[in-house]
């Protein structure tokens, strides 16, 4: 049975149409396994091989991968939530109630999105401290660390802009507290706050702005920087092996 299934899978993968899409073909050789990574526009961000000891759990606790996992969950649940959401006052709040009482699994969808968002913020911080304490930020990985700091800020902004969208008391006043901090910037604080909110207080304009930032602009930045972040792992010699003496380019 397993044999025939394997044969069937192999037949599909050797099919002309399949091969026109995935050029790597079938086979168990390292060459074939390399081609799978090399010839895929997304996977070729990664190197073909990795040091075995960097794959051990203790090396990274898989925190970067898990952060990316929460990001993917957030994109999927976020797109689904967009189908039920209008960024207008007070319809936004009515949509929350609809998620609760009308939409199938609406509560679950919102729960998953919210808890994943908290998890992502936590994991980004955890990832940063883990990288620091391993010393993995040092040459030649210094620029990837900087990209990581940018991704930390993008994550915080994503979470913060999403916080307003339910348009309940919690959302409204949390964002009011945050936007008041922006007005403390010397000289142009009030202007920054006005630009952020599209007005002098948190209102319908602010909701629309936060919605566009949350659903379009910030996710695009996140995806862009995540791609560079992953690609730089390969370019900087793979995941930090744990001692500098075993690295290419070390003395």
């Amino acid at each position: 049975m397993a044999n025939t299934l394997d044969q069937f899978v192999d037949q599909v993968r050797e099919n002309r149409i399949w091969r026109s899409i995935f050029r790597s073909g079938t086979g168990e050789s390292n060459l074939h396994k390399s081609l799978v990574v090399q010839q895929n526009v997304f996977l070729h961000l990664f190197s073909i091989k990795a040091r075995k000891r960097t794959m051990e759990f203790n090396a990274t606790w898989y925190l970067g991968a898990l952060t990316f996992g929460t990001f993917m969950i957030l994109v999927i649940t976020g797109v689904l939530l967009m189908l039920y959401y209008h960024p207008s006052v007070p319809q936004a709040y009515a949509d929350m109630k609809d998620l609760q009482y009308v939409v199938s699994s609406g509560v679950f969808l919102r729960n998953l999105h919210r808890w994943s968002a908290h998890a992502m913020v936590f994991l980004v911080f955890a990832h940063m401290f883990k990288v620091f304490y391993r010393g993995a930020y040092r040459t030649p990985r210094e620029f990837n660390w900087v990209i990581g700091v940018i991704l930390l800020l993008v994550t915080l902004l994503l979470s913060y802009t999403g916080y307003l969208l339910p348009w309940d008391q919690l959302a409204y006043w949390a964002v009011t507290v945050g936007s008041n901090i922006a007005s403390a910037v010397p000289l142009m604080g009030a202007r920054i706050r006005f630009l952020m909110l599209g007005g002098t207080a948190v209102n319908a304009n602010a909701l629309l702005r936060f919605y566009v930032l949350h659903c379009v602009i910030l996710p695009l930045f996140a995806i862009l920087f995540i791609a560079v972040h992953f690609w730089r792992i390969r370019k900087d010699g793979g995941i930090y092996p744990g001692d500098q003496s075993s690295e290419v380019g070390s003395q």
Partner: protein, 250 residues
């Protein structure tokens, strides 16, 4: 005459046919060649499989959490009715706690700005690249700097608020004990490291004495971050007063 070679060197640019590389190491080769030949795994399928399993476990955990606990939803936003306390999202509560003590331009702009700047420049500080223990060399001078930093923090966090209280009796300027205690604890461990012999019998103390200055700064920052965020989240009630979590701060 030299012995016959047991290999044939050919030139071929087709990596599919000849995927091996030969490196000719001459006397002028740079030290870059001193690399241990260590075991590697194929990214496909080994690495992708492990990552997929890790993400799958996380996804299941999050699904379970989402099935058990509902996301908070309060009543419709009402600009005329301010809840007390009005709290920012949890990851900003450390900042909000600082806002309780310092003017907004310090707590909301200066401190977070400096933190971000500090994080960005971390890898570009090439001093102490060998990451030797903080007290290994130059101990006297470094203890002097250390004492100065702790004294300065004590001055800013504790002494200045008390002086301002004396000068402006009506104004409430609380001393920042919540940020000072983590400083004291980290400083105590640093002094313990300074008092420790590198060949100490205790494993923990040997570990402590090897820690470089960057470790101590980051640990202090992490400790402050956790304490301030926890206090802002669990111990603050109406008017940002000190409330115990089981008495309604949550």
């Amino acid at each position: 005459m030299s012995a016959p070679k047991d290999f044939v060197a050919t030139l071929d640019s087709d990596a599919r046919k000849t995927p091996r590389r030969i490196a000719f190491i001459t006397k002028r080769t740079s030290p870059q060649i001193h690399v241990k030949d260590e075991e590697r795994v194929m990214t496909y399928p080994e690495v992708f499989f492990r990552v997929a399993v890790a993400i799958e476990v996380l996804a299941i955990a999050l699904v379970v959490i989402a099935l058990i606990w509902n996301a908070p939803l309060e009543s419709l936003a009402d600009p005329t009715h301010t809840p007390n306390p009005a709290k920012a999202p949890w990851y900003f509560l450390g900042l909000q706690e600082l806002l309780h003590y310092f003017p907004p331009v310090v707590a909301g702009v200066l401190i977070p700005g400096l933190v971000v700047m500090a994080l960005i420049v971390i890898p570009y500080f090439n001093i102490n690249i060998e990451a030797e223990g903080i007290w290994t060399r130059d101990k006297k001078r470094r203890l002097g700097i250390f004492g100065g930093v702790v004294a300065a923090l004590f001055l800013v966090l504790i002494v200045v608020p008390y002086i301002r209280r004396l000068l402006q009796p009506g104004v409430d300027v609380p001393p920042v004990w919540v940020a000072f205690w983590p400083t004291v604890i980290v400083a105590a461990f640093m002094l313990m490291a300074a008092q420790t012999d590198p060949q100490s019998a205790t494993g923990f103390r040997r570990w402590l004495v090897r820690k470089p200055v960057s470790f101590w700064i980051m640990t202090w920052f992490l400790f402050e971050l956790v304490v301030l965020t926890a206090v802002g989240t669990f111990f603050r009630g109406p008017g940002w007063s000190w409330v115990l979590p089981w008495k309604g701060a949550l």
